[in-house]
Symmetry: C2
Subunit: 212 residues, 2 copies
């Protein structure tokens, strides 16, 4: 079992505050995500800024791409992204078109996806999935539970490298002890902390304690 990565999601609505936050903690975390909100607000400039700030880190554009996979992926790669996300209800041709242009594609799991579809993604050569507790579902009172953990485990058994995200904090990580999670993604768990550097270090230390 590997040691899970820590990924920071920049879900800011403006580029200056995103740049200020990532400059503080980018070296501590493993993967830098230009979140969907930021992509839609600042466009490719957001990817370019994060890439310029951290030339050697893995950069993900969380486009949640549903169509025109080739064009979106080429644009993301041109701006400096290594990986990008596609939404689970995108068609296989969209996913394949995206996968040709970026190093790796990650499937974002929302709504009523099936393991049959998941197998099709694997068959199409896409082996990263992001298991999500929707922000809006969290606002509606839903939390991480046994059902979520079993789905994550099943996806890992199928052969996916699985990232988990949605309402994670340092205390939540131990729920996943014994599970071969590929990456933990958090946004405001770090950026909204009183001291983002301390928060990022606390995430890393807890991951090391449990999986190290």
């Amino acid at each position: 079992m590997g040691i899970p990565n820590l990924q920071i999601a920049l879900d800011h609505s403006d580029l200056p505050s995103a740049v200020a936050d990532i400059a503080k903690v980018g070296e501590i975390v493993d993967i830098l995500e230009v979140g969907t909100i930021l992509c839609l607000q600042a466009g490719e400039e957001a990817i370019r800024c994060v890439r310029a700030l951290f030339p050697n880190k893995k950069v993900v554009a969380d486009t949640k791409c549903a169509d025109a996979g080739g064009t979106v992926a080429k644009n993301c790669a041109d701006a400096g992204a290594d990986w990008m996300t596609v939404i689970c209800c995108a068609t296989i041709p969209t996913m394949k078109a995206a996968a040709k242009e970026v190093e790796e594609v990650q499937v974002e799991l929302y709504g009523d996806w099936t393991y049959e579809q998941a197998q099709q993604w694997l068959d199409a050569g896409i082996s990263q999935a992001i298991y999500h507790q929707s922000r809006d579902a969290l606002f509606a009172g839903e939390t991480w539970g046994e059902k979520d953990l079993n789905r994550v485990k099943k996806l890992i058994e199928m052969g996916f490298r699985v990232s988990v995200t949605g309402g994670l904090d340092v205390d939540t990580l131990k729920l996943f002890a014994g599970v071969d999670v590929y990456t933990f993604i958090t946004g405001r768990g770090i950026t909204a902390a009183e001291d983002p550097v301390v928060a990022a270090q606390a995430f890393k230390a807890e991951i090391q304690r449990i999986w190290g």
Copy 2:
């Protein structure tokens, strides 16, 4: 039966060429769409430019929002969009959160959605749907057929105002004769034409001929 609207989708990868195209044909068409590719490349500036150019036209941000519906919708509205799109696999809380911030939300239909889900969208107060032939599916050789038309009709019977899009040209419109389509959406059907103004006028004239 109403006369369908004509919507132009700006799916440019850069803002200057999008602005140049929309300036030519914006007055002819009914609805101006800032396409997903352009949203991801130019950010909110794209919405702001289209709004500034055409203060009195309906502007749609094609975000295909999958999460954080409230934030994405508020950002779109702040930039000047009247409507925005959500992806069909978004959760109902995401759709409802978006619907609070913009005038109307449109559900983009991709992949394996069901009529049961569609009824849930209606029950949540969302009555616009976009029936899509995926660009990547079109590239893979799929075309409009009886199956698509029956789905469009069924959605209209359920109570949706239905926009159709994907590989439409002036000759394709007559396939929909007798169907109460709310809006035809085309991008390069106008922008890639030798004369975009003539192309936009030809779309309008054909719609008038069939539904007028």
